[in-house]
């Protein structure tokens, strides 16, 4: 049943899923932290952080890809250090694709989680404090369960965005079949060949299927969680 896609196409689908999964999972804790900081704390440079988080949303993706390349590339400031100290290379690897997807999806994730945190009544957290819970415990036992629908929504949104990320990825890690060729890159590559629309259609259907599934699952989970925590 696998012969209706070429091995390269299968690898592109699998790679996209892997890239999106890891991009979402790794950025989630940071996303919750940044969303909490933006929603609840006042600190110097808050607007700067806010702008920085949202930058990938408004910059041309190719610019984000370029910035990633000069920062995390082999000879980039951070890339060189990672390579020398930890042997981690991001450029032209699937891990680099995950980084690009994570960066591009980050603003959407943070927005969703931040909205959820802002909807939590701080009075509930105050009440937990008077019952003996320290700040970290208040977060774990009150805030976190209450923002769970927002976290799920943010994660699914980020996953879908990562699945579709193209510009920054192709700029940063290129389009190497089996290594950095994600689903959108594969569609792009197929379309470069004259008469490739037919081949692209199969990949396009897969992209639509994955996106719809993600959306429906997120709706369903978020509704179940919301019912649980609404106190009904």
């Amino acid at each position: 049943m696998t012969d209706w896609l070429t091995p390269d196409e299968w690898r592109a689908v699998a790679l996209s899923l892997r890239v999106s999964f890891w991009a979402t999972l790794v950025s989630l804790p940071l996303g919750v932290f940044v969303a909490y900081a933006l929603a609840r704390w006042t600190f110097w440079g808050k607007q700067l952080l806010n702008g920085l988080v949202h930058l990938p949303l408004i910059l041309p993706p190719v610019v984000t890809g370029y910035l990633l390349l000069v920062t995390f590339g082999r000879r980039g400031v951070v890339g060189q250090t990672l390579d020398e100290w930890f042997g981690i290379v991001l450029a032209f690897r699937w891990t680099g694709a995950a980084l690009a997807a994570g960066v591009m999806a980050f603003p959407l994730m943070v927005r969703a989680i931040r909205l959820a945190i802002e909807a939590v009544d701080p009075k509930l957290e105050q009440a937990a404090g008077t019952l003996g819970a320290s700040k970290p415990w208040v977060f774990v036992t009150v805030t976190l369960p209450l923002i769970l629908p927002g976290i799920i929504a943010g994660a699914i949104l980020a996953f879908a965005k990562a699945m579709g990320e193209f510009g920054a990825t192709i700029t940063f890690v290129s389009n190497i079949p089996g290594q950095t060729q994600t689903l959108p890159s594969a569609i792009y590559a197929v379309l470069q060949v004259p008469g490739g629309e037919g081949n692209a259609a199969r990949l396009v259907w897969i992209a639509i299927l994955i996106a719809m599934t993600a959306l429906l699952v997120s709706e369903w989970v978020a509704r179940a969680v919301a019912r649980r925590i609404s106190g009904q």
Partner: protein
Amino acid sequence: MTLQVALQHRFAGFDLDVAFQAPAGVTALFGRSGSGKTTVINAVAGLLRPDRGEITADGAVLLDTARRVNLPPHRRRVGYVFQDTRLFPHLTVRQNLLYGRWFAPAGPGPDCDRIVELLGIGPLLARRPGTLSGGEKQRVAIGRAILSNPRLLALDEPLAALDENRKAEILPYLERLRDEVALPILYVSHAMAEVVRLANTVVLIEAGRVTASGPTATVLSDPTNAVGLGAREAGALLTAQVVAHEADGLSRLDCAAGPLFLPRVAAPVGTRLRVRILARDVLLATARPEGLSALIVLPATIRDLRPVDGAAVLVQLDAGGETLLARVTRRSVAVLGLTPGKAVFAILKSVSVADESVVSQPLAAGSARPGNH
């Protein structure tokens, strides 16, 4: 166990400067909205850091700005019952009740089953807060605060958001708590009916200052506090014992001032009750009146006279050791020649039972109440 509070805090356009002691039992912080009552218990619970202050509970220093001590709320162990209950919506009633247990110090705490029974919330345990009525929520909130094993309970107008029926539903539970749970309770209220029914001690707060504090009966029957209490609310609070239910539908209650007759009281003979006699319901006569329909006529001696507003004067009376207040006109004072030391008769038009629960024992050591012999 005593709570000692001394606070100074400056808001925009408002100065708070209070100091008081709350002995065991229920201490009511009474005053109008905006007088600073809630600020005081927020400072006690650690939700507000005052400019200057010192708060000690049970010997433990919760706040001492001079020594830079300021325990965070979770280490103060002040069980706070909020006006808006603040139950956790994602937890069941049972989980809400047990929430504070996770963080309470090791060792025996309050008995959960007993508190649940005392508050009548057993049938609610598996439900979620969103499905509870206002009164049920407030009972769960009270239980949650007690079960966190606090040093003291702080209740911020727990009944203010409830309608009269719900208030009547909760008050008996609060009385049972006061009598059965050995916790000092700080009770913020602007409703006199709750104060006379619950409080052993009253701290009267006006515009950020303590204008009076002491045993409830003493504070309420002091004419100098009449303005702060609201002139309509001025009156005496005394403890009386039901001695007979008579055939014509009246109940006879005895107190040090003399016998009181009330429409049938729903309490068995021998029960001790708090009764409230409002100053505006007391008439004065210089001779024992005859041919009068009022049933309660008590001999008394004038102790003090205090003009309140316009034409009114509050007269403080000593009736067999009990303090009564009468509200009369200036003209009557002049015509009858009312002066301190003069013997008069107090004619009571109405007496109300402030407290339907059984007062079977002195409510708290150290809060001597006239009539609580």
